[in-house]
């Protein structure tokens, strides 16, 4: 059996097999129909809550629990009330934007630098430090929350925007991502530049960084997303209301005794929208980043 297979050119074998399949197209067509039904059903399951929440964020308080797909009446008052500033809501949004973009910019810079050293330089202690970076990825992050809070407090990092950004500004996941990407660029890039007498820093800044655009985009997006969605750290570290992020502000919204679902949904929509937009523009990098950082655990 094995001998006959190795003698026959495999492609011819496969083609003939497909022809046999074409002999029973009905079964295959049923399978594909079923496949699309399942996929569409799950898409509805996946998108439904968001679409319905978005629609309902235009409903009045009296109307918000009715299951109708069209708000009656359609109102913008929820958004107007949120943005009127009575709950410091605009402030929360600004804080979240600063936290997320600050974290993104600093991770791009610092993780690229670390990734450049790990990916393209030979130095004493490299293997140990890189192994450490991988090991740290497996430490359950919530477990060191209390000591992290105490360390931050002793450094004077509480109740301020730096208290959010500083601990998150150089994340091991992002370093791993950059290292994996930069490792793959051709060696000759440095060699020819070094012959011309360029310093390591100039090579990094002028040659490597422009070539690292895809990885930089992934790091920027993933760290923006992490900070924008972060809840527990801002909850612990910020004490005055003016320093709350959008997530913490929304949580207090939801914890009040009577729940104003209409405002809640409008707030959730404001929280969701920036990420959805970024996702649709940079989808490719998102997916690449997640697949690569997932490999860290292997």
């Amino acid at each position: 059996m094995a001998a006959t297979i190795s003698q026959a050119p495999p492609q011819a074998q496969v083609r003939s097999h497909i022809e046999v399949d074409n002999g029973v197209p009905v079964r295959q067509r049923t399978w594909y129909l079923l496949l699309y039904v399942i996929l569409i059903f799950y898409s509805l399951f996946s998108l439904g809550p968001f679409v319905f929440a978005l629609i309902s964020s235009f409903k009045t308080y009296a109307d918000v629990l009715t299951p109708s797909l069209i708000p009656h009446p359609v109102t913008l008052s929820n958004y107007q009330q949120i943005f009127s500033g009575a709950d410091l809501f605009p402030r929360y949004i600004v804080n979240s934007l600063i936290y997320a973009s600050g974290t993104a910019v600093l991770n791009v810079l610092l993780a690229s630098m670390a990734g450049y050293a790990f990916g393209r330089m030979e130095f004493f202690g490299k293997n140990v430090l890189f192994a450490l970076t991988l090991a740290v990825l497996m430490i359950p992050s919530q477990l060191i929350l209390i000591p992290k809070f105490l360390v931050a407090t002793s450094l004077g990092l509480t109740d301020s925007l730096p208290a959010l950004i500083v601990p998150a500004m150089a994340q091991p996941t992002m370093v791993f991502l950059m290292t994996q990407f930069l490792k793959g660029l051709p060696r000759e890039l440095e060699e020819s530049a070094m012959i011309d007498g360029a310093s390591r820093f100039r090579i990094f800044w002028q040659i490597i960084m422009p070539l690292a655009r895809p990885a930089i985009t992934a790091v920027a997006i993933l760290s923006f997303q992490g900070a924008w969605n972060d809840f527990i750290w801002p909850l612990i570290v910020q004490s005055s209301q003016q320093n709350y992020t959008l997530t913490v502000g929304l949580a207090y919204f939801g914890n009040q005794n009577y729940i104003a679902y209409n405002l809640l949904l409008a707030g959730a929509a404001v929280n969701l929208l920036p990420l959805v937009i970024i996702f649709f523009i940079f989808q490719r990098y998102f997916i690449k980043g997640i697949s690569t950082s997932g490999l860290a655990g292997r």
């Binding site: 097999h17 004493f124 202690g125 809840f231 969701l272």
Partner: protein, 315 residues
């Protein structure tokens, strides 16, 4: 001419020294590049981890003085709690139930979605985007949306009433509150793991499938005998990451259980309990001891999985 000769002469003589010097300079430059990252890593992860172990032997009432050495008293307190059905015990019981359910179901769902999308599907990108959306968004926004959906007069109960089922008050009933959060989290986490499975599926060499087809294997046999065994490393990764993540659940129980793990502590999780010990009871030392215990539990389960899922595969 003389100058050039002179230079080449010294170069030859000091070659080992200079390459040593270059190595040293390269190392120093590398550490220059690494310095900010290492500083942050050391401060907020390594020192913090060590500090957690250290503090677990101390009494620290935050804001009121220095840590007082406490020996094993924090651990004795936890032991008493565990043997007398205290809050930490309840939280561990909840999270075990939660983790087992969530990890199994989300792994199966992620695998199923990936296998479906790996077929010759038209519009694969669109489906992938649609499936991924729940994983993209913040736990806070999703929790708020589901507080609304799970309301006893909410949409979910409305849909159930259409098929004649009288839905429970999901988040207000101790028997359904935790399963409600489980369903929500399976729905939000599975898409990320689906992406990992999809990446792994694309790594499986085509010639393996071809060989199997030549041998007359059908689609089901190929999936069972080739695809699933080759996906084992990913399955391990997905279950390990899923377990570590599930054990640390906090946001949803804080938001949906009214910040106290309610109703009747049915959604109390260890991280929420640690948070309460630290910031409501002001017992930082005991909170660290609880974190150490939880760390050991997570480690135990990760090692257990490693033993059950054989990742040693050969093509």
């Amino acid at each position: 001419m003389q100058g050039a000769l002179h230079v080449s002469g010294t170069a030859r003589k000091s070659k080992p020294k200079r390459s040593m010097g270059r190595k040293l300079r390269e190392t120093l430059t590398a550490y220059g590049f690494l310095a900010p990252y290492l500083l942050i890593l050391a401060t907020f992860t390594l020192i913090a981890t060590g500090y957690a172990f250290y503090l677990s032997f101390f009494y620290l009432d935050f804001g009121f003085g220095d840590p007082i050495f406490y020996g094993f008293k924090n651990y004795e307190h936890i032991w008493y709690d565990l043997t007398h059905s205290g809050d930490f015990f309840i939280s561990l019981k909840n999270i075990l139930f939660y983790t087992v359910g969530v990890v199994i179901l989300q792994t199966v769902l992620a695998l199923a979605l990936a296998l479906l999308l790996n077929q010759k599907v038209r519009g694969r990108g669109i489906f992938r985007t649609a499936f991924y959306l729940p994983a993209l968004t913040s736990s806070v926004a999703i929790s708020l949306i589901f507080i609304w959906l799970y309301n006893s007069q909410g949409v979910i109960n409305y849909l159930l009433s259409l098929v004649g089922i009288h839905g429970p008050p999901w988040l207000y009933d101790p028997t359904t509150a935790l399963p409600s959060i489980m369903l929500l989290n399976i729905w939000t986490t599975a898409p990320t793991f689906m992406l990992l499975y999809l990446a792994a599926l694309q790594d499986i060499p085509d010639h393996l499938y071809e060989a199997a087809r030549v041998d007359g294997a059908n689609a089901w046999q190929i999936t069972r005998k080739i695809t699933l065994p080759l996906l084992r490393p990913t399955t391990f990764l997905v279950t390990a990451l899923g377990t570590i993540g599930s054990f640390q659940m906090f946001d949803q129980s804080y938001l949906m259980g009214g910040a106290s793990g309610g109703p009747l502590k049915s959604t109390l999780t260890p991280v929420l309990e640690i948070y309460n010990t630290a910031f409501a009871d002001h017992a930082m030392g005991r909170a660290c001891a609880e974190a150490v215990v939880l760390f050991v539990v997570i480690l135990f389960f990760t090692i257990l999985q490693r033993r059950f899922i054989d990742t040693n595969i050969q093509y």
